[in-house]
Symmetry: C2
Subunit: 407 residues, 2 copies
Amino acid sequence: MGNNAIVGQSGGPTSVINSSLAGVLQACQMRGAKRVYGMLNGIQGLLEERVCDLSGKLGSSMEIELLKRTPSSYLGSCRYKLPDAAQDPAVYEKLFAILDKLDIGYFFYIGGNDSMDTIAKLSEYGRQTGSKIRFMGVPKTIDNDLMLTDHTPGYGSAAKYIGVVMKEIIRDATVYGTNFVTIVEVMGRNAGWLTAAAALARGEDCEGVDLICLPEIPFHTDRFLAKVEAMQKERASIVIAVSEGVKLPDGRYVCELSDDTRFVDAFGHKSLTGTARYLSNLVARNLPTRTRSVELSILQRCGAHLASRTDITEAYQVGGAAAKAAFEGHTGEMVALKRLSNDPYQCTTELVDITKVANLEKKVPVEWINSYRTDMLPEFLAYARPLIQAELTPIYINGLAQHIVGR
Amino acid sequence: MGNNAIVGQSGGPTSVINSSLAGVLQACQMRGAKRVYGMLNGIQGLLEERVCDLSGKLGSSMEIELLKRTPSSYLGSCRYKLPDAAQDPAVYEKLFAILDKLDIGYFFYIGGNDSMDTIAKLSEYGRQTGSKIRFMGVPKTIDNDLMLTDHTPGYGSAAKYIGVVMKEIIRDATVYGTNFVTIVEVMGRNAGWLTAAAALARGEDCEGVDLICLPEIPFHTDRFLAKVEAMQKERASIVIAVSEGVKLPDGRYVCELSDDTRFVDAFGHKSLTGTARYLSNLVARNLPTRTRSVELSILQRCGAHLASRTDITEAYQVGGAAAKAAFEGHTGEMVALKRLSNDPYQCTTELVDITKVANLEKKVPVEWINSYRTDMLPEFLAYARPLIQAELTPIYINGLAQHIVGR
């Protein structure tokens, strides 16, 4: 049984993925890991033996506090997908040789459904070859699309960012009192959790968004234009939240109707962008109104200055729970969040089988969308509202929020 | 001499324009104005007699605190340009009749160089016709392009927003360690003050942006590509801040090279957008790297949750100084900010002739740009750094920053 632990971060950045790193690190240290290594750029860096000794780097409480407030992956990330062990055993032999050389007993991977695929494959290969290394998945994704967990760390902060800036955008959009349609593009390829968070903006001090378009609901451009036209008869300024991943009834993404360059990443995902711009131009061509498109872009995933303290705390908690589970003998599992109640909000952790999470996606329940397919129902608000509560004030130095870097 | 005051907001929103409204309102009340009216949608609304009585609306300290934290114009805005009085006296006759009916003695207009044109024309017409109404301009613009004032309220908060999010974007952009060029588009049609603020990001905890492209410097696409290629030999992730208004040597905007729909507003300004997207595609087509474009869009002007307390305080101060000046007999002037020292930062107000501000633009001094035209010099940082200092924490209720609405 190895004496050391190793932790990696994978997939897209979030505002709180470093809080999970802090949780893994501190729990491993408390439970007696001799060293805690960090993989630089995830499993891809590990294959090149690029690791660092975290024990020597993040020793002070101030460094841990800054780490919790630093967005994106402190260790760097990757989008590397492990091949099947049966087809390419050499990669696994190499990886396990490196892990043995580092005297690793505990392996943690913080990421989304693609990253859980990595944990599933490594733990399965370890089981088959009699390795004693324990492999644990730590959930992370702004998309909130992991199965078997009530929600994912990263989602609450992104949802809070979307709620706060949507209120600001609505204030900005109403200023001239003239016909104006603002279309805000939100991330979320196949699941509309982030776009749905735009519904949080409505309140005593805010009209809220006028239309929410989720990827779960087929998008009809003609019906969309008719809705916008009808709404604008009621009020001049219309603000619409639209997912980057809305699809036409024939399955094509709406943004494929525009003429922009598109990429496909190593996992075969299309890089989606331009949905709001396309729709904004469509409205401008067809209705008597000015229009504007806004892409929340990467700020919704790296806007740590607006992180939810609930989210930061839970991100830390799942990191710690993963370390606890590994030291108690678990492997091939992911830590999930289990909600006990909404009011008061109570949430605990549990362990779930990694193979039931890897490569799967959890969609927004259609029952949480109103019958006109324009807005979210109170059930969604009751679910999402607790996740955006409270703030962890950034540490401002010389006017700017401070981070920690230098792995 | 009229007993009442009236105040309007004009032009594009900022995070602190309502703080100036609070300053005007409270100073007028302290100095004995019987009523303080607000123009709804600026001078355009006033022409339709759409006004509100602010005294009855913003009476409590809590309402004033929320007003200071609410972005965009509480009273609504307009982009209406007054005709020349000689050509169209009817508009002026109508306006002054409305002002007399409301028993106005003091008229305040919060805005940028277009709005100062309104004050210049009204005060001149008033002088010619023997009106006793005093007309004062209150500066406001994120663009920081007003003459005769050290800086403009609104700029500090936008600069702070840009500094904070640029640091977050840089963290996000470095995560994969692979070739990546991120091009961030910043507002500022002809003056590069906002784009220059990207230079604030660099510090002990941040590499800073790699290239800054201001509209003051002619943009050569071939040199740009050569610079990016050279920089990427040094480091994989390159982050570039580019003004929406960068121009080719022949005078065309770079974004005119793209094929997007464009508008011209009532002042004849082209709506500029797509510069970063165009350059991002240009780099992707010519260099072996992935690219991404980010438009800071309207969030840089309405991101009140990141406002600079220095800026909010000064915005309030110029409002109060305008009221003081008007009650002391001044007219046809604008309140300007006059910097006394950088360290410690000290700033006071003074009055300047409105005709020397109206319709003019202040550019970034070329001496503050390095000789390679890639970065800002310490002179700029010494100028800008004091303006982003300190925060005015948003009032969060139920996870979201609270505003005040309902004029």
